[in-house]
């Protein structure tokens, strides 16, 4: 029997997968069964229709359009594309069901071993479950990497009742989307992990705190919760969804709880830790979505099966989201300890532009930029930390030579100063000052003393901030200063942006020897500052040019050039 599976995650739908699915529905064919799945991680090929014969993947149709559905059906049972070779190089534990099952069909999940772990766990003592998770070596996937078993033990040991467990589905790190993919593609797995956490810590209330920017994930979670409730799988646990209201800092656990309590989402001092006194003063266990999604696998296969993957301090596998200037953006799940280079070059296909890789940003606003020279770093908590970056939630942004590192540092500081909750003076004002200095440098108004000022502010902000948002706010600046100081100096001394990004430091010209006078640039220039007659050389009026780059991208004759620096 042939099954056609259409990946209907947010990414697939954005690429047009819903139209493809609807078209397939309109053209029923007795030769196949149509199945609705979600993102399988190969986002670069979307919309994707995968073909299964007796549940085995035999091939796929990539970048399908609704208009090509007819010819697709005529081609069957042969296919256009082979299963991606990437599949064989990954180790999928957390993502084992993503793209294979219908996320709105609980029986699909059950047929692949779903809820077996919950059954098993409910016949065990909480302490036995905690021991198992401890033995697996699983560390939190939300950023800090705290050992999950130990976290559960703290909550279990607290005699106070009632207790709470929370799934942190805030996924605020811009550029990371693994949690969204799991929630949309395998929502029951997160629910099962959360119910296991509830049993292991003795909690009776469970919450999923999810950001409002993920409407499809919320819809599928609601569907899944209705199904487990109807099946009586919740036992005595009350399970509820809480929608965030748009604040990055609410991903921080104490701010998250403040937000659930109906207040401004401002972090609180620790201790008390959530396991001592969390939501409404009750002992609380907070785990990231991916952490929870690993739990059912560990219970089903045993702690040892998990801990045999990875390195001594970083066990198991990790899901990474590849984005930015990478050829094959999407999700990959690899064994911890894999090198950053092999993940980006072999699984990600290198850069999309073909330009050399300049750096890789890891860990979002709290992380840093790993330069090309350190790409052989192993993907473990400790090795990444040694570079100045962090594992973070697993967001990986690839940057090529056309990326300006000052622009990136400025981007992150702008993000941080916007998202600072305002409680600590240094985080609130210090990050703003850093942003202003970086803006000055990008505009060619920087001075050498600005670099010392940046370093000085960095250490003060880190010392005087309450939560990790402030404590790590300077990381994007410190790592770019460490690895790309020459670019800072170029901006300051030579007024030069080698990546041609900082608008104040670049100039556009038309080479009159090459210009054919086709007039295209003049028609497209948004501020009409290009003059010239048809078939005659064109000229840019620099005093009105906004440096938008349109002329450069539209000219088919390579007549538009860019220059930068005082000496050019």
């Amino acid at each position: 029997m042939i099954t056609l599976a259409v990946g209907l995650g947010t990414c697939g739908i954005a690429a047009g997968a819903q139209e493809v699915y609807d078209e397939l529905l309109r053209q029923p064919d007795p030769r196949y069964i149509l199945r609705k799945t979600s993102c399988n991680g190969h986002c670069y090929n979307e919309p994707i229709v995968e073909v299964f014969q007796n549940e085995e993947l035999i091939g796929a149709f990539y970048q399908v359009k609704a208009s090509s559905v007819k010819s697709l059906l005529e081609t069957l049972p042969s296919v256009w594309g082979q299963p991606s070779s990437r599949q064989g190089q990954e180790q999928r534990l957390v993502l084992e069901n993503c793209g294979l099952i219908d996320p709105e069909n609980m029986n699909d999940y059950i047929s692949r071993g779903g809820y077996v772990a919950l059954e098993t766990v409910r016949s065990l003592l909480p302490m036995e479950v905690v021991s198992m998770i401890k033995a697996s070596g699983l560390r939190g996937r939300g950023g800090a990497g705290f050992p999950t078993g130990l976290k559960w033990q703290f909550a279990l040991n607290n005699p106070s009742q009632p207790k709470v467990v929370i799934a942190n589905a805030d996924e605020g790190d811009p550029g990371a989307f693994m949690d969204r993919a799991v929630l949309e593609g395998d929502p029951h797995r997160v629910i099962e992990g959360l119910l296991i956490a509830a049993h292991a810590t003795g909690a009776n209330s469970a919450y999923i705190y999810i950001r409002a920017e993920y409407p499809l994930a919320i819809k599928r979670l609601r569907h899944a919760i209705a199904d487990v409730t109807a099946e009586g799988k919740l036992g005595t646990v009350l399970l509820e969804i809480k929608e965030g209201a748009g604040a990055f800092v609410c991903g921080e656990e104490t701010a998250l709880m403040a937000s659930m309590e109906g207040e401004r989402g401002m972090p609180r001092f620790k201790p008390p830790f959530p396991a001592e006194s969390g939501l409404w003063g009750q002992p609380t266990t907070i785990n990231n979505v991916e952490t929870l999604a690993a739990i059912p696998w560990i219970i089903r296969h045993g702690a040892e099966a998990f801990s045999k993957w990875g390195t001594e301090k970083s066990r198991g596998t990790k899901v990474f989201s590849l984005a930015g200037k990478v050829k094959y953006p999407g999700l990959v799940e690899v064994e911890m300890g894999t090198s950053l280079r092999s993940m980006i070059e072999q699984l990600g296909g290198g850069t999309s532009s073909g330009l050399p890789i300049k750096a890789v940003q890891m860990g979002g606003p709290s992380g840093g930029c790993v330069p090309e020279s350190l790409l052989d770093t192993a993907l473990t908590y400790e090795d990444l930390q040694a570079t100045g970056a962090i594992m973070g939630s697993g967001g990986v942004i690839v940057m090529d030579e056309a990326t300006c590192m000052i622009d990136i540092a400025k981007y992150f500081l702008n993000f941080i100063q916007n998202e600072s909750c305002g409680k600590c003076t240094f985080c609130r004002i210090g990050t703003k000052r850093m942003f202003e200095i970086l803006s000055r440098i990008a505009e060619g108004k920087g001075e050498l003393a600005d670099i010392d000022e940046l370093i000085d502010l960095s250490s003060q902000i880190s010392k005087a901030s309450l939560c990790q948002l402030g404590k790590t706010a300077a990381n994007p600046v410190l790592t770019t200063l460490q690895y790309f100081k020459d670019e800072y100096l170029e901006h300051i001394v030579e007024k030069k942006c080698r990546a041609h990004v900082c608008r104040s430091l670049i100039r556009y010209h038309i080479n009159s020897d090459v210009c054919t006078g086709c007039t295209l640039c003049a028609k497209r220039c948004p501020v009409s500052c290009i003059k010239g007659v048809t078939k005659g050389p064109h000229r840019i009026d620099a005093s009105h040019c906004t440096k938008c780059g349109t002329c450069l991208s539209v000219c088919r004759f390579g007549a538009v050039t860019v220059s930068t620096g005082v000496h050019s």
């Binding site: 979307e46 811009p174 550029g175 993920y214 604040a247 590849l322 953006p329 967001g395 940057m399």
Partner: protein, 157 residues
């Protein structure tokens, strides 16, 4: 205070409950149903409630980016400015929307048709640059496709 807000205030308290923890769900309901947070409505709620005060509701509403105090346009455009979109040229996309609509970020066009916002990541980073229009995500947006996206929502160039 208009009676309209009074009735709505009672209804909201009835629907959610009069406790601090319901502040955000109440505000979310108001934002979705009214399209913005009318301050007189917050005052009406506070005057009826035991545990929800006007200053607390206002404080919460100003903290989270989901809430706005001015009515939004018919269509809300959220241009992603997350890291992945940023390195793939999201700035040019925002600029294209700004110049096409002749408004700044956070503003609404005079004909009340479009509100332009930025967001920090839509989770569609693999299709960067991404834009969400009325809850639907569009991927690989270009300066050229901006006009087409607007036209599909009734914008006359």
């Amino acid at each position: 205070m208009t009676p309209q807000w009074n009735d709505l205030a009672s209804e909201l308290l009835q629907r959610f409950g009069d406790e601090t923890r319901y502040a955000i769900p109440i505000l979310q309901a108001i934002q979705t149903e009214q399209g913005y947070i009318p301050i007189p409505l917050l005052e009406a709620i506070a005057s009826k409630a035991q545990h929800l005060q006007a200053n607390q509701l206002y404080g919460v509403a100003t903290f989270y980016s989901q809430f706005t105090f001015t009515p939004k346009g018919k269509h809300t455009i959220k241009v992603c400015m997350g890291t992945a979109c940023f390195v793939k040229g999201a700035q040019q996309i925002v600029d294209a929307f700004k110049s096409a609509l002749s408004i700044e970020i956070g503003e609404t066009t005079p004909d009340k048709l479009f509100t332009l916002q930025t967001v920090a990541c839509l989770g569609c980073c693999s299709l960067a640059p991404a834009v969400m229009i009325d809850g639907h995500v569009h991927g690989q947006v270009t300066q050229e496709s901006v006009a087409a996206l607007l036209k599909a929502k009734g914008f006359n160039l």
